[in-house]
Point group: D2
């Protein structure tokens, strides 16, 4: 029994579109709160990006994930004594495609300068 079937059985009126959006939210919330705080410098930036990208990719319904950490922000926030900083939400630029049966959701996490906020949002839905 696959997860799609389970959700269908339980929720008569929940559509594939609904589940795709829910799953996209789960992925972004998960990665944010799993990895924020990771010790970071230019030396481990690529390793951290790769671990985040691949950790999201092993989860159900994740079709495509890209993760970039803002290099300039790392440099600006390097502690002058200890030469490292930690991963913060505003450094992250994530693009995610979730597929749930025939529905694809394109979502992202990106720092929004006007809101001064690492904004997670739905960019597009394809049915």
């Amino acid at each position: 029994m696959v997860r799609e079937e389970i959700n269908k059985n339980i929720n008569g009126n929940i559509t594939d579109r609904d589940n795709a959006l829910f799953e996209a939210g789960i992925k972004l919330g998960a990665l944010y709160h799993q990895f924020i705080g990771t010790p970071l410098s230019l030396e481990n930036k690529i390793a951290v990006e790769s671990a985040i990208q691949k950790s999201i990719s092993v989860q159900p319904f994740a079709e495509n994930v890209s993760v970039k950490i803002n290099e300039k922000m790392i440099e600006e926030e390097l502690n002058s004594t200890f030469k490292y900083t930690e991963l913060s939400g505003k450094m992250l630029d994530v693009k995610l495609v979730v597929r749930y049966n025939s529905v694809r959701v394109f979502a992202s996490l990106q720092f929004d300068e006007k809101l001064n906020y690492p904004l997670m949002k739905v960019d597009q839905v394809e049915e």
Copy 2:
């Protein structure tokens, strides 16, 4: 400018229902990956439940949240030498209501015995 407006401006075809589902997923993914691993015994169970519940509640669109940690599982998993364990996904029983404009999503996180999995799912959508 409130967040609802922001999302509307960017995404012509994204509905309130879509955003409500996306936000519900964010909350559950976030709480799971923020708090899993927290040192736990019967002595701090209530404090941890309360912190999780209130931490989700301060986030946008969270209308109602309840968090229960399974007491029996804590007892079963207490280390016999050190008398504590850590919060794991299967211990969590979370019920969440997200409201986005006129749409309410009821979602939950609960251990599914058949799947042997801490399952996040959409229980109901009200428009």
Copy 3:
């Protein structure tokens, strides 16, 4: 068999003082990376402080723990649209006493303004 004995058996030349210092470091590293990123406002500040304090307290050798989150910093960092922020290292003021057999270590985590760094340090050792 208690943990003290285990460590003694394995490490002939490791003293109680050594183990007390090691354990103090574990506690501070653990709490930092467990709770950083928690959604935070003045509404859940006390619940989060309490959960951190009690979660450290259930761990072996923790004799006393106090946790304060800087209220002023929360206010300064509240997002103007969403009215919350997240727990960051510089907001934390933690005092910890670890006891390992007859040795007590007093350690702390506090934002150091000169270093611009949430500094963990050993304040005192009593034998």
Copy 4:
């Protein structure tokens, strides 16, 4: 001003050995609570090991770090429906060398079967 000097100024009677042990504890507590819960399968195992190893390495006083995740345990714990699991403490085998001035501490995190516990311990101190 380097961190060694800071600690010396503050703590008259705290030795380099003390600080080395404290720092070793910080590193192990930090990595554990940062990465536990990371979604995991055989596909991202190496990326996660690498990110943990490099994230500890960018921190002060970390001279050498090796991180292995137990492949067999991943296989045993893969969810049969979703084909992934999450990083748990017992999967981790970490060896760490911290150097603080002329003192080296060798510490480790390894699952202890007798204790049924992911045990952090000091293996050796060199002055």
